[in-house]
């Protein structure tokens, strides 16, 4: 599903440049649930941004579902993001003047799906995350866990190939974190490919594979036995 070869990325900081990713080789099969771990500055967010086409790579190649991702202009990148990827952010990033349903319907709107179909689909995904009756509420009326579930519903709404989650539990307490992880595991069980960036070991243990990043290189890549979040809920 994802194939990355010899990926390099550096940032220019004035006169000196910061080499963040130093040759990453990495691939993800369909249906995997991968945790990317590492301390601050290890390059894990940068890797996720490149995977999410929010940032461009300097060297190497990136292939997503057989499509080489390179030399994208903004319009093309937006199309690919919309078609291939779903994003879940640490700070939820819901649009605060739109209701839960409208937030979930947004990616479908960008796909130019009709209004009625959009609403039906949005409600379906809200139902999956257990927030059907909160459809008309604004984000400000929801709890942190609920917001993140709306964000996950939104990421799923466009039926992406890969779900990218950047510290999805970073702003949540542990009970809520496990609820969210339970949801993510269920989505993964349904066959979706998911990448999670986290620095919390217990969250990483709930994935099927852990990739450790340190100073811009992969130091460890192992498959693990998944801890089900449902047992904590």
């Amino acid at each position: 599903m994802i194939v990355i070869k010899d990926l390099h990325k550096s940032y220019k900081m004035g006169s000196n440049s910061l080499h963040v990713l130093k040759g990453i080789n990495f691939s993800v099969e369909e249906g995997e649930l991968v945790a990317i771990m590492g301390s601050s500055g290890s390059g894990k967010s940068t890797l996720l941004n490149i995977l999410g086409m929010l940032d461009v790579l300097d060297e190497g190649s990136y292939t997503l579902d057989g499509v080489p991702i390179k030399n994208l202009n903004e319009t093309k990148a937006a199309q690919y993001r919309n078609k291939f990827l779903g994003f879940v952010f640490q700070s939820f990033n819901l649009i605060n003047y739109k209701s839960a349903m409208e937030n979930v319907a947004l990616p479908l709107y960008y796909q130019k799906v009709g209004r009625k179909e959009r609403q039906e689909k949005a409600l379906k995904y809200l139902e999956q995350v257990g927030l059907r009756e909160w459809a008309d509420h604004l984000p400000s009326e929801l709890s942190g866990g609920q917001k993140q579930r709306v964000a996950i519903a939104r990421a799923m709404a466009a039926e992406p190939k890969v779900l990218l989650a950047d510290e999805p539990t970073g702003a949540l307490d542990s009970t809520t974190s496990y609820e969210v992880m339970d949801l993510i595991q269920k989505i993964n069980d349904a066959g979706n490919t998911i990448l999670i960036v986290t620095h919390e070991p217990d969250i990483a243990d709930m994935c099927k594979r852990i990739v450790h990043l340190k100073d811009g290189v992969i130091v460890e890549d192992k498959k693990i036995t998944q801890v089900r979040a449902s047992q904590y809920v």
């Binding site: 990033n93 960008y110 796909q111 209004r115």
Partner: protein, 419 residues
């Protein structure tokens, strides 16, 4: 572009901070209001001046003799001469595109002695010997009876058409004037009609105190032979008297044996030229109104642009999210520009409407407090409103352009990082 969601969002964004939106809108509102009011005031002044010209055919020139200033063909300079009926015939024959060539004779005049008598009443009036055409050049409303006609001319009938002012001085209130006789310098004329002229000028009173008699009767009664005192010449609508007048002078100079270069022998007053000069003034005034109005509007538009920049700044994160979710950058750009145009048009429409109200009120007060000299019916045409709308759309576009550009300039990843 015209889907419901987009409009919903525009309204949501603009109503999220009412106070700011209204303040911003006020700049555009004010600009367009000033543009409309300035144009209307200019129009009011123009209408006032136009009505001062009265109903007179404006494509007209008046021509009289002044004495030669150059010797020619053995004739001395300083020679006095008079137009003859032959001059009139020659002009009609040789100069094309003339609608009316009216020879006129005149008795009396400003501060003249009493020259008209009826019974024991007397008065001093201008008495004109005229052809029937004159009513088309110097229009008047016939209030009773008729005007001079061709039969009067041919029969040299001693008939007169008198102004309402003349009637007021020579007749008692309610007395029938038609069919009665008045004595003009000792010659009896029968009154066959009365008139009233339209004029907003200072001489409104004066122009009602005139008497028109057939040109031929005038010549016979007052020993003018075939002399012509002066002429009123009107050109056809599609040509201008200002261009034709040189040809007319040439004909007159030939006929009267005047030196071709003698410019002072024939005096004239070109109403058309005068009228055009005034119209030119109004054209200039209109340009000034547009100039000032658009400059004021511009400051309003800059205000809109400024606010849109702030809105974009405030929504940086949201724009980042939306781009991460896959919104086309063009769609974001379009959104910002449409917000800007929408705000501009709404406030501009409010300005136009309020301007219309102001004009209505001015007209209302003009109507209730009597007319003001030189200011009649200030108004703007539909054309002006259309131009104003076009200006609004263009300025909304300009106001939204820079903010829209800055909205998509920032990368989605940076936009997402902002708090």
């Amino acid at each position: 572009m015209f889907n419901k969601d987009r409009w919903k969002e525009i309204v949501e964004v603009l109503t999220s901070n009412w106070f700011r939106t209204v303040l911003t809108a006020f700049g555009v509102f004010w600009g367009i209001l000033i543009l409309i009011v300035l144009l209307a005031a200019g129009k009011g002044l123009e209408n006032g001046i136009r009505s001062n010209f009265g109903d007179i055919a404006t494509n007209t020139m008046f021509m009289w003799t002044q004495g030669t200033s150059m010797a020619y063909k053995g004739l001395p300079k300083g020679r006095r001469f008079t137009f003859k009926l032959e001059d009139v015939a020659a002009i009609r024959q040789k100069v094309p595109d003339l609608r009316f060539v009216s020879p006129r004779n005149q008795l009396g005049g400003f501060n003249g002695a009493n020259n008209v008598v009826r019974g024991i009443k007397t008065g001093a009036f201008n008495v004109y010997g005229d052809y029937p055409d004159i009513i088309n050049q110097d229009p008047m409303g016939i209030t009773s009876g008729r005007f001079i006609n061709q039969l009067d001319i041919e029969g040299k009938r001693k008939v007169a058409v008198i102004g309402e002012g003349v009637r007021a001085s020579l007749y008692d209130v309610g007395e029938e004037a038609i069919g009665t006789y008045i004595k003009i310098q000792g010659v009896n004329f029968m009154v066959v009609g009365t008139y009233k002229k339209n004029s907003n000028d200072g001489n409104a009173e004066e122009v009602q105190k005139e008497i028109f008699i057939p040109f031929t009767s005038f010549s016979q009664a007052f020993n003018q032979g075939n002399n012509v005192g002066w002429m009123a010449i009107t050109a056809n609508d599609n040509s201008s008297i200002t261009q034709l007048k040189e040809q007319i002078f040439t004909v007159v100079r030939e006929n009267q044996k005047i030196h071709p270069q003698d410019l002072r022998a024939v005096g004239h007053f070109d109403l058309y030229e005068e009228f055009n000069r005034v119209l030119g003034l109004f054209k200039a005034m209109r340009w000034i109104a547009y100039f000032v109005g658009i400059l004021v509007l511009l400051s309003g538009v800059i205000g809109v642009s400024n606010i849109m920049l702030i809105v974009v700044k405030e929504r940086t994160k949201e724009i980042g999210i939306r781009r991460a979710l896959g919104e086309d950058p063009w769609s974001i750009k379009l959104q910002i520009i449409m917000e800007s145009i929408f705000l501009t048009i709404i406030s501009g429409m409010a300005g136009i409407s309020f301007g219309a109200l102001v004009i209505y009120l001015i007209n209302y007060f003009l109507a209730s407090n009597g007319p003001i000299e030189m200011f009649v019916n200030p108004s703007v045409g539909l054309g002006v409103v259309l131009v104003a709308l076009i200006i609004l759309v263009v300025s909304g576009l300009l106001a939204g352009f820079i903010p829209a550009q800055s909205a998509i300039k920032i990368k989605p990843i940076e936009a997402l990082r902002t708090e």
